[in-house]
Amino acid sequence: MAEIPEHEGRVSDWASEDGPPPRTSRSGSNIRPQALTAARFARGGSLYLETFLRDPIPAQAAAYLYPPAFAQLLAPLTGLPARVACAAFAVLSLAIFVVTTWKCAQAGGARGGVDLALGTALLLAAAFPVAFAVIFGNVEALLVAAITVALVARPSRGGLALALAVVLKVAPFALVPALASRSRLGLLAFCLALLAVVVVGIVLAPETWVAFPSILAHLAASGSDYAQNFAPAAVVATLAGPTAGSIVRIITLAVAGALVLLSALLARRPGGWPAALFAATFASLLVPATLWLHYPAILLPFIAFAWPRASTRTRLGIVYSLLFFDFWDMAAGVIGAVGLVLLGAVLLRSLWPVTGPPIVNDPTGTLQ
């Protein structure tokens, strides 16, 4: 693939030029090629590199690989100078992380005020995946917004929010069985919103929507053996060879399937929705062959939600798990995988619905 030069100036100015769609430079943020591609797409250009429609796509390819709707969502950024567009997206991401963490902690029982402000600041500062997602401009903040709405709002709004999530990235489809199991209204809202986005998208740019399944297939066909990829299968493949990696890949997919099934069952139980949504979100991390260090940022709403009522042991477990991500520069893959599995186990146990007789506060015995 020929090297495509980096471009300065307004996003939309460059997007009007002829030539292949942009790819990022090593010095750029991840949102930069996405915004450039969005601008180009808005002017009738192609969304995906032509080679991506023919050959396996390297998992670290720095070019547009998202569903077409994300490019349309980025349209407001395309009138800005490229550097300003990247900064604006980082500020937006950080603001989303702050608001969602605050809201989830309140929904989990935290009182507002100075303690919550400091707690939010500490969690966001200490979670490396958040730093990564904000500094390099990835979609996690938008996914976190959708997951937060699904977690704390009524099911119909949750359905609309999850429709936004699946047009940004394919993996959040793992959350749909839980939504469907919880509420038919939520499922209806999800289907209608998704249908609306896809129909409008297809009317505007039919060839791109036809190309997208082919992009997914070529992405799936590529290798995932990067040292920084901390998908359990990739870590085991690096340590113990490709056969062991393939076995772990099958186990990972089976665990993801079991978690999706569990999420559908938990969603029907009283008080089971946070655990159901968490199980499904965690499954969505296990499905792709690659897991980069910004992906676990989508678990932040669940940490904030669980924290106010968590036991000291659970809180230490969360802090300990997050520390694994913070030492990414020691052995990124292995460290990330251990941190993710620990965090998943601690959060699932913490959010699991408590069964038993209802607690009645009746110290004087007058109700008996």
């Binding site: 430079s25 090593r26 010095s27 750029g28 670290q60 100075v114 303690d115 400091l118 707690g119 600041a121 500490l122 500062a125 200490a126 979670a127 490396f128 730093a131 990564f132 500094i135 390099f136 920084q228 980069w292 260090l293 000291t312 809180r315 913070d326 990414w328 520069d329 990124a332």
Partner: protein, 48 residues
């Protein structure tokens, strides 16, 4: 966990921890990225 300590002490500890995390997580990440940039690897740190 900190409920038994006075609010002012609790907030001081939380504040110091948040500043330490900003330096250790965000600062170190940007520092590694900047050093990598100096040696010609681009602003993106080695891990991505």
């Amino acid at each position: 966990m900190f409920a038994r300590y006075p609010p002012a002490f609790r907030r001081l500890i939380l504040g110091i921890a948040a500043l330490a995390a900003i330096w250790f997580v965000w600062g170190r990440f940007l520092l590694v990225a900047a050093i990598n940039h100096q040696v010609g690897g681009g602003l993106r740190p080695v891990l991505a």
